[in-house]
Every structure is written in C-alpha cells, then in structure tokens.
C-alpha cells in the first residue's frame, strides 16, 4: 500500500468517526449509506478531483464538479468537504441543528461551500449533472462531472430519463457512481423493487459500464482511471460500486436497519472503539 493510500485509509477512519458522532449528536440522520460511501468520497475528493476548496464558488469554472444525488448520506459528504478544507471541521457539530448550514439534506440556501444544488428528494442529481456537464462543454472546459446515486434511487423514473438524455447528447465528460449496496429502507433492493440486470440496463441505455469494489482504495483508484479512460469517447460512464451499508461498524454492516437510525450512547461508544484513528475529532 502506498503512503498516500495509507493516509487516505486514516482519513476514511476519521470520516467514519465523524459520521457516527454527527448522527449521534443530532439524534437523527443516515449512517448506513454514509459509512458505505466513505471510501469513495475520500478517494474522490482527496485524490481524484481537480478542485480549489479555498476559492470555492457556485460556478466552479475550470474545476471538476461532484453532485450527490442520494442526499440523505449528507453526513459523509459534510465530513469529507470539511476535512478537504471547504469549511471548518468544527461546524460538523451543527449537523441538523437549528440555524446550521449543515441541513439534514444538502442545500444551497445557507451557502455552505461545496454544495451546488439541493438533493434529498431522490432521482434528480443525474439530470442536474447532465446540465452541468453540458455547460462545461459549451464553455469549452475539459473537466469532469461526477455523481453518486443510491441503488434504491435507481427506482426513480427520472434517473432513466437522464440516462437516455446523457447518452443521446453524448455527455462523455460525465462519470456516475452507483452505491450498489443492495439495501433500501424497507429491506433489500431485490425484495422491495428488483433492479434486475443493472449492468445490462445501463449498457442498453447507451452507457459505458464498469464495476468495482467500493471499499478497496486500490480498486477505486483503478476504477477512476478506467472510467476516465473510457469517457471522452461519446458515451457517459457509470461505475457500479459494490459496497456494504454501514461499513466499518460491525453492528451496522450489511443491513438496511441502520439506513436512517441514530446510535445511542452505548452504540456510539462501541462504534468509536472500532474506529481508532491517529487523526483528530471535530
């Protein structure tokens, strides 16, 4: 494991600590999907995107952009944004509290740096990313637009409207990731509303499809490289990323039951015991 990958690994542990502490502090929020997407978001923000957190503005000209379509996993996004320098990590303590910029679901109204559109009502982020990616093309910018979606979110029809649109308009500066954990609020995706042949669905919609392990930083590194290599050739790219909901906290792992439940004091202590880090808490 390289030194940088090792540092990313420590960051992932710290972000996971942030997630469980934020959700515990608010007595509400969504730890399961947040823990499951931690490795992806740390890798994306610390190792992949060309960004300038200190000079953030809404337009993001000349930068790569990211859209979180499954906005309920805001804890992981807020933690990663703050630790990447978009805002002070101390602000994580305000998550879901009155007068906070860290709304339950991401929003622009409070002006939190790093967020360019509200999300929470599912299925809308891919359309927004299509527009942002087309704007980059119209401006002649050679930059990437990334998105993340839940697998349950793919049950929303608008996702497939956007999938058609992206392929039809050859939006090949768009790279989407699916948090393929197989879980949603009411149970497994297979039981609630089976997505069937997900790879085949995206392929038949005209996308280039990749798969990767969403917890192995080396595998994620390879997936990003492969995605960018496949993009730019007339097709948008989707990466189906195998993850475990609740990853890193044993009693939250692999179950939909921790989709939107906060840990109590004892559970928090147990979780933090499993997430020892050389970094520092907010």
């Amino acid at each position: 494991m390289s030194e940088s990958t090792h540092n990313l690994s420590d960051l992932c542990t710290q972000v996971r600590r942030d997630i469980v502490r934020m959700v515990h502090g608010a007595s509400s929020g969504h730890p399961g999907g947040s823990l499951g997407c931690t490795d992806f978001l740390v890798k994306l923000y610390f190792d992949e995107m060309q960004i300038d957190p200190q000079n953030w503005d809404m337009d993001g000209r000349g930068e790569d952009l990211f859209f979180l379509s499954n906005g309920h996993i805001s804890p992981v996004w807020y933690s990663v944004l703050s630790r990447r320098g978009y805002f002070d990590v101390a602000e994580l303590a305000t998550f879901r509290k009155l007068n906070s910029r860290l709304q339950g679901h991401p929003a622009t109204e409070e002006g939190l740096p790093g967020i360019r559109v509200a999300s929470g009502s599912l299925g809308q982020g891919l359309s927004v990313a299509c527009g942002a990616a087309q704007a980059k093309k119209l401006h002649g910018e050679d930059r990437w637009v990334y998105t993340l979606h839940g697998d349950g979110e793919l049950q929303e029809g608008q996702i497939w409207e956007a999938a058609l649109y992206a392929a039809h308009h050859q939006i090949d500066n768009l790279i989407s990731f699916v948090d393929w954990n197989g879980q949603q609020i009411d149970g497994t995706v297979e039981d609630v509303m089976n997505l069937g042949d997900l790879e085949g669905k995206w392929r038949s919609f005209g996308w280039h499809v990749l798969q990767c392990d969403g917890h192995d930083l080396s595998a994620l590194d390879a997936a990003f490289k492969a995605a960018r290599a496949a993009a730019g050739q007339g097709k948008p790219v989707v990466v189906l990323m195998k993850t475990d909901m609740g990853r890193g906290v044993d009693f939250m792992e692999g179950t939909h039951k921790w989709h939107g439940v906060a840990p109590n004091d004892g559970q928090l202590s147990d979780a933090l015991h499993q997430l020892a880090t050389p970094l520092s808490d907010y």
């Binding site: 337009d59 993001g60 527009g131 119209l138 401006h139 608008q158 649109y165």
Partner: protein, 331 residues
Amino acid sequence: MIDFISADEATLDGLTRKDTRSGFGQGLLEVGQAHDNVVALCADLTGSLKMNAFKDAFPERFKQAGIAEANMIGVAAGLTIGGIIPFTGTFANFSTGRVYDQIRQSVAYSEKNVKICASHCGLTLGEDGATHQILEDVGMMKMLPNMTVIHTCDYEQTRNATHAVAAHHGPVYFRFGRPKVPMITEADTPFVIGKARRVMTGSDVTIVTNGHLVWNSILAARQLAAEGISVDLLDMHTIKPLDNAALLESVGRTHCVVSAEEHQRNGGLGESVAACLAQHQPTPQRFVAVEDQFGESGTPAQLLEKYGLGPAAIVDACKAAIAVKQGMMAS
C-alpha cells in the same frame, strides 16, 4: 358581446391578432442574439412553443429533451452552474404539475436561474380538453419561495417580457398561451417585472387582470362606460411579486375591485389580490375565475363563455362589486 376569439378585425379597432407564444419565440431569438449564454431546452414541442427560430439560429445552444420533462428541469438547473441562462419550453401543464418536485428542489430551493416558459395555459388551449388545460399552475408556482410568476396578455408584451425574464436573475415561471389575440401593447410599451400596466383610468371600480382576459376586460370596460360606469383597469402581468402599490392606489380611488383571470380562483391572481387587500385595505372584491372545476373540450370562445370568463361575466362582477361598495357606504 364579442370576445377576442370570435371577433373580426374590424371590431377589434383594426388591431391585428397574434399568439403570445409567437411573441415568446421572437423574444427568445432576440435574447439569444443578444446573449451567448442563453440556452433553450424543449420537450418535443419545439413548433408549438415557437422555438424553431432559436433552434435554427443557435443549434449548439438548443437542447432537445424529448418527452421527459422532469429531466429537462434538472438539466436546466445544472446548466445554470457556470453562468448559462436556460429557458425550458413545454405546455404549462407539463411545465408545472408534472415536474413540481423537480422545480421545488432543483430550481426554487436551489435558487437556480432557470426560466420555465409555459405555453398553452388555461382553457384557451381549447379542444385538447382538461388533461392539457391546466388551471392550477399559477397557484403551484407562486407558492414556491424564490419564484417569480409572469403571465402576459399579447404578442409584444410576451416578446418584451422575454427580454425582462432573461435580464432578471432568479427562477421565473413565464406563462403564455395558444390562441391569437389582439395586439394591445406596442413594441415599445415598457415591461417591468413587478410593475402593473395601467390600461385605463377610472373611478368606480378596479379590474385587476392579466393574460388573455386583459382583452375581455377592455371589452367589459367599454360596455360599462356606455352605462356610465368608469373602470380603472390594471394589467397585473406579474402575479409574484404582486404590485401592491399600484393595486392599493387604484382601490384607494375606486373602493371596490374585480379580479379576472384564466385560472382557478383557488391559487390565482384574485387570491393574491385579496391577500394584499385584506392586509392593507379591506375592499369588496368579486372574482372572475374558474370555480373549482376542470375544463373540457370546446373552442376557446365557447370555453371562456361556459366557464364564466367572458366580457359579460366581467361586467356582471363589476356591477356586483359596486353594489357591495354602495351597500357598505349606505349602512
């Protein structure tokens, strides 16, 4: 009494008729020529929205969205990131009810500079019937924080409003229609968002109206004038923000008001007028609007008559409002 649809040009004071949607198409072409960051999107109704001229002039800046309106609204929201000004085009029904949550989250709450351009509003869509005749769109849009709501009355006002909409920073719902209506305003008639246009000055009753009912209100005012009743007529093309000052100034002189609109009474212009007056200057009001019903197939003229939006209905409403005022003054 003759309404604007069935009247021949002689009875329209020689005014020619054009559709408001064509005013939008011309205005869109002009703002496209003036600003290279204007982009148009359409959901498979390019001809109906009169967006062909823009499409032909700026093929790179025209995005066909197909029959997928929810995605179109989201794409428009995304295009604003980086400074593009997107204009979406489809029928009013598919511009609002079908995509309410997309507008709410990705546009209004996210404060995106999207221009939602909606043709074929109201009953005057005609024969297609109630599935397409949306009469609730103004209500849905005016309830959204950050949203500006505009409904224009003729070709030139719609063309001029398109320029104003492009220059305004923030989300706008821009409502216009299908039928050809008399050209009441001139090419150089000022259009200012949030500032009502005074059509006539009078002292007995105020009519506050917009859209296609501006012409019907003019006809009603002429009839009333013949009976010795003087009408103060305001074209309230911007429903939100409402021009409270113009409204209060007018009713301060007339002491009664009629609102007239091609929309449900619930959620419409008249409701905004009533809210303003109740708070600032309680005033007798009568409503010319659709009364909690869906529309149906028919010609535009037949539908306006059947649903009580014709000139005769406006005349009756004015007399009723004046009667209430006189009763209050007598008591």
